[in-house]
């Protein structure tokens, strides 16, 4: 009887049999996308898959994780776990993650399926295929969590429909569509390296620790299940970069430009995380500023020191991200407060204790620039005039975020950048977004900017209620201030009922 093969033998056997030489068609016809981006690969054999996971091992391991995960989700549902969260305000952080990021997991699944097909190397094909399956699992587990919370809270009922229409969801949507419509090497640099390796800790860590701190075991569970995959994804991200850089010196400037672009796009997307950390968690984990210092300035700094020997430097405009850390979360939350009538989650003003926390975490910015604005809004609300911005915002052509970012030399001054292309004006929130546009203007002139689309008459009508209807956003239930929300009323009722149960 043959000796059983160990994991490494199995992997070698699996990949060897996949890597045949075609005889009916030239390789250039089988893999038509592999040259146009300018990346030169001398030898695909040099691709090292650090995990060498075979399909049967992958299947067994993931099945075990899924069994545990669904057991926890079931028990959360049976025990009314949603009543153990710190406060119903917390659910709004979850709404943002599950409506903004979960569809993006699905986009990542599609993207990795496509690049797995595009790459000629067997190691790369297998790694991409496994990640594609991971991403599909992540969106499925998250949909189960949506399904549970949807029974008790507003705003979850039509997340797929909203992803294609709602103004702020166009930010993650356009980010992934930009990556998916690039070539395979740019896609994998964008998602595996810039997003998964450099920035994912700033997405997963705050949401999952936030969930744990705030008693949301359903989210903690899908988070942990996904996180063990993230480790593999991050390793793939770094492997991809090093592989491209080692294959040919001509690849270095191309890869550097992609790192510059996708760092900036990812950083802009993280504005949503920044406001979630500082404003949406009833029990806070750490401030955005602290998270950026730890995960980007320290960890990211060390990574780019390590990559210096391949000729790679820190991403362009990283200094701006560091300067903005005192302002980012406040400016983003203020924007959602302005447009709380058009969001599928609730907004609110921080209470006195929360403002003290913000002032302590942001001694150089909060009291001077943001507290006066908030105190005015609170006074207006108490007088019966909760402030909503009556006009629609001007959007950045690249990141599609309202032009809310200010000049770090004068934090009261909005940054305006613009350019002309074929006689048409285009506007940007930053030099980072302007550079991205100018490198590939043909791509970004076709951006589906939600505000401009409303004015062109493509979004259900000219008034806010008509547009909300087109979004499938229920006016008065899913949107507006938390203070007057059905979510809050229900929450208070449930808590009262359960405290009465405890005392009898």
């Amino acid at each position: 009887m043959a000796k059983p093969m160990n994991m490494r033998d199995k992997y070698n056997r699996m990949t060897r049999d996949l890597g045949w030489e075609p005889s009916y068609q030239p390789k250039s016809k089988i893999y038509p996308q592999i040259e146009f981006e300018g990346i030169k690969i001398e030898n695909w054999e040099q691709w090292e898959d650090p995990f060498r996971l075979t399909m049967d091992a992958y299947w067994k391991y993931q099945a075990e994780k899924e069994r545990k995960l669904y057991a926890v989700i079931d028990s959360f549902a049976q025990n009314n776990g949603q009543l153990n969260i710190t406060d119903a305000r917390y659910v709004n952080a979850l709404k943002l993650f599950l409506t903004g990021i979960s569809p993006a997991e699905y986009s990542a699944h599609r993207g990795f399926s496509m690049v797995g097909r595009a790459f000629p190397g067997v190691g790369a094909q297998v790694a991409c295929q496994m990640q594609a399956v991971d991403e599909l699992r992540h969106v499925q587990t998250q949909v189960h969590t949506i399904s549970h919370y949807n029974k008790y809270f507003n705003g979850f009922q039509d997340f797929r429909h909203m992803h294609d229409r709602v103004w702020y969801l166009s930010v993650p949507k356009s980010f992934f569509e930009d990556a998916q419509t690039a070539g395979p090497f740019e896609f994998i640099t964008a998602i595996s390296f810039s997003f998964e390796y450099v920035l994912t800790n700033l997405l997963f860590m705050p949401f999952m620790s936030g969930a744990a701190f705030n008693g949301d075991m359903a989210t903690v569970t899908f988070g942990f299940s996904a996180q063990s995959d993230e480790a593999r994804h991050m390793t793939l991200g770094l492997e991809v970069i090093k592989f491209m850089l080692q294959q040919h010196p001509d690849n270095v400037p191309i890869v550097q430009r992609w790192i510059d672009k996708w760092f900036w796009r990812g950083y802009r997307l993280l504005s949503l995380v920044a406001m979630m950390m500082d404003y949406m968690l009833p029990k806070r984990v750490m401030s955005w500023k602290e998270a950026w210092e730890m995960y980007f300035e320290q960890n990211g700094g060390a990574l780019f020191e390590d990559l210096a020997r391949y000729g790679i430097r820190m991403p362009k405009y990283w200094e701006v991200s560091v300067q903005e850390k005192d302002h980012l979360s406040h400016q983003t939350w203020a924007t959602f407060y302005n447009y709380g009538h058009a969001a599928a989650f609730h907004t609110w003003m921080p209470d006195a204790e929360e403002m003290a926390w913000l002032a302590a975490k942001y001694p150089d910015s909060f009291d001077r620039w943001y507290r006066p604005r908030y105190e005015h809004w609170i006074a207006q609300e108490k007088a019966g005039h909760r402030f909503y911005n009556p006009s629609l915002p001007m959007l950045c052509q690249t990141c599609q975020i309202p032009m809310l970012y200010t000049d770090m030399d004068d934090p009261t001054q909005v940054v305006y950048r613009s350019t002309e292309y074929q006689g048409e004006k285009y506007h940007f929130c930053s030099d980072g977004c302007k550079d991205i546009f100018e490198h590939e203007p043909e791509k970004y002139v076709q951006a589906w900017l939600p505000v401009n689309q409303i004015y062109q008459g493509h979004c259900g009508g000219a008034t806010v209620p008509e547009v909300l209807n087109w979004y499938h956003l229920r006016d008065g239930q899913d949107n507006r201030d938390y203070l007057y929300s059905e979510d809050r009323q229900n929450w208070l009722r449930w808590k009262e009922a359960s405290s009465q149960l405890e005392t009898t």
Binding site: E37, P393, M394, M403, T412, V414, K425, E442, V451
Partner: protein, 119 residues
């Protein structure tokens, strides 16, 4: 630079003026008044007199700000697409040189936002 693609990449700008049903898109920002989180976007008739922009459009957009009624419009500093600009109040937007997707900014000296915070 230009996009790298496998085929002739069509240039299809999505927001050309013809898409706006006779209006043009105009962006407006009140500097140092970030209670309004970002500049705003409005579809406006190219013939709209500048005075009407000030009296109707800006009042609707910014009237909720406690400093709005204190603006001395004769002292307002205007910027059009980043350059200092003196509007002709009786002329229309187009005749004032305000094009599709132009940015109009205004500064109100002495009014520095809520409690001087630029809000």
């Amino acid at each position: 630079m230009s996009v790298k693609a496998l085929y002739d990449y069509p240039v299809v700008p999505k927001d050309t003026v013809e898409q706006f049903h006779g209006n043009q898109l105009v962006f407006i920002g009140w500097d140092q008044h970030l209670m309004f989180c970002s500049p705003i976007a409005l579809p406006l008739p190219p013939a709209l007199p500048f005075a009407a922009l000030v009296e109707q459009v800006l009042t609707d957009a910014y009237g909720q700000h406690p400093e709005f009624t204190r603006i001395d419009w004769s002292r307002v500093e205007w910027l059009l697409d980043g350059q200092p600009f003196t509007p002709n109040p009786v002329a229309g937007l187009r005749d004032n040189g305000i094009g599709h997707k132009s940015v109009i900014r205004f500064r109100t000296p002495g009014l520095n936002g809520i409690a001087g915070s630029g809000s």
